[in-house]
Symmetry: C2
Subunit: 460 residues, 2 copies
Amino acid sequence: MNAEEIEDWTEDDGYGLRPEVFAALREGLEVRDATVIDEIMDPLHAADIADLLEQIEPEERRELIEIWHGRLDGEILSEIEDNTREEILGYLSPAQLSFAVRDLESDDVVDLVEYLDEEQQEAVLEVLEPLDRVAVEKALAYPEESAGRLMQVETVRAPEHWTVGEMIDYLRAHPEELPEQFYHVILIDPRMKPIGNVGLGRLMSSRRNVRLRDIREEMFRTIPVEQDEGEVAYAFNQYHLISAPVVDEDGRLVGVITIDDAMIVLSEENEEDLLRLAGVGEHTISDRVVATTRQRLPWLAVNLVTAILASLVIAMFEDVIAGFVALAVLMPIVASMGGNAGTQSLTVAVRAIATKDLTGSNVLRVIRREVLVGLINGTIFAVVMGIVGLVWFGSPMLGLVIAIAMVINLVVAGLAGTVIPVALEKVGVDPALASGAFVTTVTDVVGFLAFLGLAALILL
Amino acid sequence: MNAEEIEDWTEDDGYGLRPEVFAALREGLEVRDATVIDEIMDPLHAADIADLLEQIEPEERRELIEIWHGRLDGEILSEIEDNTREEILGYLSPAQLSFAVRDLESDDVVDLVEYLDEEQQEAVLEVLEPLDRVAVEKALAYPEESAGRLMQVETVRAPEHWTVGEMIDYLRAHPEELPEQFYHVILIDPRMKPIGNVGLGRLMSSRRNVRLRDIREEMFRTIPVEQDEGEVAYAFNQYHLISAPVVDEDGRLVGVITIDDAMIVLSEENEEDLLRLAGVGEHTISDRVVATTRQRLPWLAVNLVTAILASLVIAMFEDVIAGFVALAVLMPIVASMGGNAGTQSLTVAVRAIATKDLTGSNVLRVIRREVLVGLINGTIFAVVMGIVGLVWFGSPMLGLVIAIAMVINLVVAGLAGTVIPVALEKVGVDPALASGAFVTTVTDVVGFLAFLGLAALILL
């Protein structure tokens, strides 16, 4: 392998790992050649190494880490998803662990250990410097998924009466105290309450005698330390924040959250909604069979109950079906169209609730629209299915029955697809998690009931 | 209304608008009192005003803007979603428009005008300063959804041999040339090629005689100007970038993209995937009835075709059903369970493809897992449904038929739910858009075929 070949393992037209890296790595693992492995891994970014570790087989993973052990640093570890990380931490020695976490900021250590079992958590905490350990333990005392878990305790702050010159002199005198990345100097009052932010660009381009309070940013928001991380991500996205001070109950500065952490949360929250809508809980592509089976089973069980409910409706009409088997052929169409239309409405509603775009102020308008859309689409597909029913089975009456049932079910789908998520949100249930089962039950039951009921009335 | 009441219209325990703001606003609109309206609107952040404008009725919106016209600035306009913004731009006068866009950076103007029709676009471009206009027109020449559309052309750059002191003196001497927000000084070579980034924190805490090249960041990536914005967002998220220089074909600096823009794209891409998976195209909660109907219709039409396909399968077994109506009662259960299991698998696969976590290196392992999960869950629900079939209809044979069909369909669901999105991605079709229809067709057809076919074999 020559230097040019290994120069860049990421895709030419984008990012992520190129397939060749895996082939080369497997060759290297086969001959257990540390030099080859180093040549492959060294040019990679920590995030790409993490992806690579997630994507190879568990045995390959263990072997790779053994050969390459000196290089598995904390940055890579914090990029790896929970299950794989837990597995790796299971066979790292205390020395390797201590090497891995020594350069991490407090928020990254928290991120690393918060979902570990107690024993593994203790093993990591033990190798930390005493001061860092206190910071991490303090963060772990805040609720899960709160601002306190997300923030770093290292802040850059100054009294508002300082001048630009004083600030720069201070920063130059204490470079070792500064966080790796920071975007604002936080202005504080004598009781440690944050009262403003000074952006570094503004600070740098201002004369030495200008007071910090005179160049603070217009936009300033503090984040309560117990706030849910979803709300934090919403605030960063909504107000285009870059960093925001975190305050305790008394309004005193306890840390700072930066946009890169908020971006990760935003991405996770979106993923959570997507997976929940599909009836998959927390899930990653590297989960094992047993874990995956367990995550999928509950939703399938719920679906079984709703499917049996629908079957009970069908069973009420067994005699009708026996007399007119074409009904059995056509009935899934009505239910399926209703289910799909309902899913469309509920997905739009769930997303709009998550982004706070569907609120009490416009819910009636949205419901009205969804019902109207159901009416229009229902009518269009009623005409189509009426003709299909007529041509296929030669029965105008059957065409009429399926047409009317289609309109009814698509209107109900629009109504249920909006009302159900809004109602779930009101009573404090995550609409992404539970809406699907409710809406499908409604459209299945109404679909079969309308179609078979009308058939019983009109055809018999 | 006293001052305390209007002090903060956003939620106490989070962000977003409080319901009271809408009630107060409607009162103000009724009496057409500009003072009342100003009192309500002035404390609100631009992003919240945009949400408010989206959530009220179109007539209220027009009235509000009329009364409050002087205050609708470019920041608010760029926060409003496309449809509502187009509507508003339709009735703004050139003077109002010119006021609105005068303070915007070039990337925000591009964002504002890129999806307008030509006439409206021209109206906005006309009110820009000549230099700004050139910058915007240049950006509009780049492909839609490319880095060129996303970047701002205002950059802060310096030759690498400069010292910290020279840099600070330069910034202080040219404050009017600086972008509103910037996070790095981009180091360039004599041919304008970016060769490194210096973070402002590091710059500020270094002594005046230190050379910029000695304090540049380890992590440095440039973005090609024609790169897709989805890839840009991926890079920011994967590599935790804060800002990155954009280069033209020759590698020369043409602009810079900052994390707040990348975060918006990331959020949009996630939304797109979510909505596409549910068969909803580009959609916002404020769309009108006709637009919504048009967006939903194609997917419902596709679903109708797949539902009719499934019906054709059922029709093959009309005689069997006529002889054994219980089959009609139970058959939707098998299809429904398969559809749900398939949706679970495909959602996980689509998400993992989007985050580049499902690649050629692990696709076989994921397929193997999905099939195994289908086998295990299929067996569990086979036992349950076997018992239900036996108890409900008193037929052990019927129980056996539904049990076997359940296992077959859940295994097929796991296979199709992974193979179909991966194959679509390979041939360049967005898996989020098309997987659902294919997978549901497979699980419906296989579900009915397995259940009714087995019934024909075993029961008759």
